[in-house]
């Protein structure tokens, strides 16, 4: 088998450089610039050179005429170069004062007067070495992600090469900017470029979108069902295009839950940050009902009906916690496109919880690390879903894993079918059932889920009843328990949300009522238990992460 990589046709296209320059220009001007740069950065010249990068195929996960997925090792030391033009502030005192509070500013009279100098920077002798995950499909375009920091070295030559201080500073700044560009922006650029190249209808659609977007520049659309976010990403941080989104919406599949606007994810991240610190800033999140606002009656209402939305809440929460782990696609890194990692062959409930416990324990540490903006590892893994939905499912998972080949090759088109998702609606529920029946596992599952004594849940969901006594505490129940639970007391674990299972399974009013009754009953018991074992739990509560202070809007 042989592959033929063509390097030159890419550059032969006359329009290509123009487009690439435009995209690079917009990408470079997107992020806030350091105060030393006082003008827009313009890409003046771009040449990919004649030396192609060396590619070493490490793994090919999927191969067909119209799709491809693989991991490469790339080394590049070619003659590509890039020339940028901008204007810089040459007075160091001016940039020094730029972001300083005026109260403690030394207020120089004229020593800070500015001197802007046009600057031309040429980046050449770029040496790259990276592991690349490449996913291509004719419909979805090309997705390229770097697993590590690709930039090895580069030469920055500029107008100020004679001044060593300025040269070093520029070298440092540019390397930093380029790293973010490579890691964050380049995948998006390439994806967009590929869409234009291979899918002409996409470009038309994109143009339309751009046209539509222009009037309302400050886009604050949040509702994932009504209109998908413009910069949608799926659970793995891959950029999704519009057709993908629409197909998901038509399916009514669960994937829609993992479609977030990055903007909103950032907002959620700031929200959790503000809850952890003393910051008084609360980002405004539309279509969200804050727990503090909702009255008790409303709350119970939303608690009953908003179970479908709960997984999304949970996911966003966990994503915020584990942002640092993101870009690494997965441990078994062969799936690039929103796939669940190959299932662990023997997933028992306990192992799952401990795994999650690690994740939760990492919260504080990862919080301190610098966050990546584009990171959307939502951790919507199998284990989490199992935890929320029911205990028996993990059993099915293990069976599936056993039945599957060691290096699974998932089919690209219908990822949501591979994932056994938490029940969202009765219809979804039915599908779920069939899938488990296919696996011949339902008897055991049913037995498991029903034979659990209710009392065992009490310690589990106890923390989710923080202040109000009469509240059923249903919404945050499933999301929160496993967090708390994995954090503090894995030994006490019992597959928690039998309740959520039954509630959504039933759909009928009687069941619903029964669930409500049980929920309040449990809440009451939990309260009692809390009263008895106050000391133990109060100790535990201290080290856990705070509960999410919002509940999704009841839809």
């Amino acid at each position: 088998m042989a592959f033929n990589f063509n390097w030159s046709p890419l550059t032969a296209d006359a329009d290509f450089y123009k487009r690439a320059q435009e995209m690079l220009t917009t990408a470079l001007n997107k992020s806030p610039k350091p105060p030393i740069i006082v003008d827009d950065i313009l890409v003046n010249e771009l040449n990919l050179g004649s030396v192609p990068p060396e590619l070493e195929i490490l793994e090919i996960g999927d191969l067909a005429e119209d799709r491809f997925r693989g991991i490469f090792k790339m080394c590049y030391s070619g003659d590509a170069f890039l020339t940028l033009k901008t204007r810089v502030q040459a007075n160091p005192l001016n940039t020094y004062l730029f972001s300083k509070p005026s109260f403690t500013s030394p207020q120089p009279l004229a020593a800070s007067s500015g001197l802007t100098i046009p600057l031309q920077i040429t980046l050449s002798e770029i040496k790259l070495s990276a592991f690349i995950i490449l996913v291509f499909s004719r419909q979805k375009g090309l997705t390229l992600v770097f697993r590590n920091d690709p930039l090895e070295s580069l030469k920055v030559s500029s107008t100020f090469d004679s001044i060593p201080f300025v040269r070093d500073y520029l070298q440092k700044e540019i390397e930093m900017q380029l790293r973010t560009l490579m890691m964050d922006e380049l995948p998006a650029i390439i994806h967009r470029l590929s869409l234009r190249l291979w899918c002409p209808e996409h470009s038309a659609k994109e143009d339309q979108e751009m046209e539509a977007k222009k009037p309302e520049e400050d886009e604050v659309v949040v509702d994932p069902f009504g209109s998908p976010p413009q910069d949608a990403v799926d659970a793995r941080g891959n950029v999704l295009d519009a057709s993908e989104i629409s197909s998901m919406t038509l399916d009514g599949g669960s994937e829609i839950h993992s479609l977030f606007s990055q903007k909103n994810l950032l907002r959620l991240a700031t929200l959790t940050d503000s809850q952890r610190t003393l910051s008084l800033f609360t980002p405004s999140i539309r279509d969200a009902v804050f727990r503090a606002w909702a009255g008790p009656s409303e709350r119970s209402d939303s608690a009953g009906s908003s179970t479908p939305a709960t997984p999304s809440l949970m996911r966003s929460h966990s994503s915020v916690g584990s942002t640092s782990t993101t870009y690494t696609f997965n441990r078994s890194s062969d799936d690039g496109q929103g796939h669940i990692p190959s299932r662990p062959s023997l997933v028992s409930m306990h192992s799952a919880t401990t795994g999650l416990g690690l994740g939760a324990g990492r919260h504080s540490r990862s919080h301190m690390r610098k966050k990546k903006t584009r990171v959307v590892n939502l951790r919507r893994t199998k284990t989490t879903d199992d935890l929320t939905s029911e205990s028996g499912e993990s059993e099915t998972a293990s069976i599936v894993a056993v039945s599957e080949p060691v290096a699974p090759t998932h089919i690209e088109e219908e990822p949501e079918d591979n994932i056994i998702t938490p029940p969202h609606s009765p219809s979804q529920r039915v599908r779920f059932r069939t899938s488990s029946i296919d696996l011949g596992d339902s008897p055991r599952k049913l037995r498991l889920s029903t034979s659990e004594p209710i009392v065992d849940h009490l310690p589990v969901e106890e923390p989710s009843v923080p202040i109000r006594e009469q509240r059923p505490a249903y919404t945050s129940f499933s999301t929160y328990t496993q967090e708390k639970f994995s954090n503090s007391a894995p030994l006490h674990y019992t597959p928690a949300p039998v309740l959520s299972d039954t509630s959504s399974a039933a759909g009928s009013i009687i069941e619903q009522a029964w669930v409500m009754k049980m929920a309040s009953e449990i809440a009451r018991r939990a309260q009692d238990e809390k009263a008895t074992s106050q000391g133990f739990w109060s100790r535990d509560e201290r080290e856990e992460t705070p509960p999410p202070a919002y509940a999704p809007k009841a839809n």
């Binding site: 009279l109 020593a111 802007t116």
Partner: protein
């Protein structure tokens, strides 16, 4: 318009005989007041009070962004007996306009500050403490001001903000002023910035006895001052230098008062000249020209300030009781002293070569001091008004 706390701080300078203007950093104060005034944004309301001669509070609430505000407190060991009611404050004191420099004052002798009681010195150095908390941002500003001696002053200002690097910065400024010259040294923890500033006034030394009368019949009777500043960031190995000179007429000058300054930044090749005249009793004009010899960039800015005065309503004359009893009219007053006019408002305007216009209208309605301002960009035809703001101040 000066904020209340700045007004109180200036009152402290006056009460402790500190010449605030005699510093290199105030060399271009006139041009800054006429050209670089800040236009308010949004609505802002200040309520302040000098509740005792030693203690002042101020609360501000504004609508920039959502709602923000600040709380500030000020304590001074030197009792301040200044008018603090916004209805009575002289607008010349709170509105910065054309700054008429005054004759140099002889600094106090150090023995003047001594207080003895029972054979022991009991005098203390005057101190001012000030703190301000900006609320949604959780930014804290603090100021410690101490008159160490009649010729020296120490100023420590600090900002604490989680968004700043290292959580905040401190600036220490030591000022030494003997009238004839003044020197300042400063240190900022941000980047380890060290700075030196100096100003020298040519002409007679105020510390010596005046031997000859000032020659006010000259064409220009004024004072020339020259100064320099130098900064060095010890952590980021960067620095800055500037030189400057100013000629300004003194109050005894018989012609049109004027101020001209020239500042020079030799490192960056920047040259800036300003020229301000007080063309009439209520009108001041100012121009500024910047030029950079390296990049050939230039800037022109023009500004003016117009004080609108209104005559005080003359009091209705009533016959006095004594005159009534004696069945005669009151005697006609000879040379009645004209009542001083009161300020109705001040209009400031500036325009630069990019047709950016700034307008400011400051004045008083009843007991409230107001500042109404707008910045206009004529280059943007669709949206010329960049900002409009109204600031209200009430103090008691």
């Amino acid at each position: 318009m000066l904020e209340f706390m700045d007004y109180v701080q200036h009152a402290f300078y006056n009460a402790s005989h500190w010449n605030f203007e005699n510093s290199y950093s105030q060399l271009t104060a006139t041009a800054r007041a006429l050209l670089e005034f800040e236009t308010p944004r949004g609505l802002c309301l200040n309520v302040s009070s000098l509740s005792s001669p030693n203690f002042a509070t101020s609360y501000a609430i504004g609508s920039v962004g959502l709602v923000d505000g600040s709380l500030s407190y000020l304590y001074t060991s030197l009792p301040l007996h200044t008018t603090s009611k916004s209805g009575d404050i002289d607008l010349h004191k709170v509105i910065r306009g054309y700054r008429q420099i005054q004759e140099l004052r002889k600094p106090d002798e150090s023995w003047m500050w001594e207080q003895w009681q029972g054979g022991r010195r009991v005098d203390k150095r005057d101190t001012l403490l000030y703190g301000r908390l900006y609320l949604p941002q959780s930014t804290l500003e603090a100021l410690y001001l101490r008159r160490m001696s009649p010729t020296q002053q120490l100023k420590l200002s600090a900002v604490s903000d989680s968004r700043l690097r290292n959580g905040g910065t401190i600036l220490a400024l030591h000022q030494y002023d003997v009238g004839k010259y003044s020197a300042e040294t400063l240190y900022s923890t941000d980047g380890g910035l060290i700075g030196v500033r100096g100003l020298y006034n040519f002409g007679p030394d105020p510390r010596k006895e005046v031997t000859e009368a000032p020659r006010t019949e000259d064409k220009f009777y004024g004072r020339f001052s020259a100064g320099a500043e130098m900064y060095y960031g010890s952590l980021n190995k960067s620095g800055g230098v500037s030189f400057g000179g100013r000629f300004a007429t003194l109050p005894a000058h018989k012609g049109v008062p004027l101020t001209a300054t020239l500042t020079l930044n030799p490192l960056m090749g920047n040259l800036s000249t300003t020229y301000a005249v007080r063309a009439g009793k209520n009108l001041a004009l100012c121009s500024k020209f910047d030029f950079n010899v390296y990049s050939y960039e230039s800037d022109v800015m023009l500004g003016c300030e117009l004080w609108r005065m209104k005559a005080r309503v003359p009091k209705k004359k009533e016959r006095s009781m004594a005159a009534k009893l004696e069945w005669r009219l009151d005697p006609e007053e000879k040379n009645p002293v004209p009542e001083p006019e009161i300020v109705a408002g001040v209009l400031k305007a500036r325009v630069d070569q990019n047709w950016k216009i700034g307008l400011l209208w400051e004045g008083r309605i009843k007991e409230l001091l107001f500042t109404l301002g707008s910045s206009i960009d004529m280059k943007r035809k669709d949206q010329p008004f960049r900002a409009i703001g109204l600031e209200l101040q009430y103090s008691s």
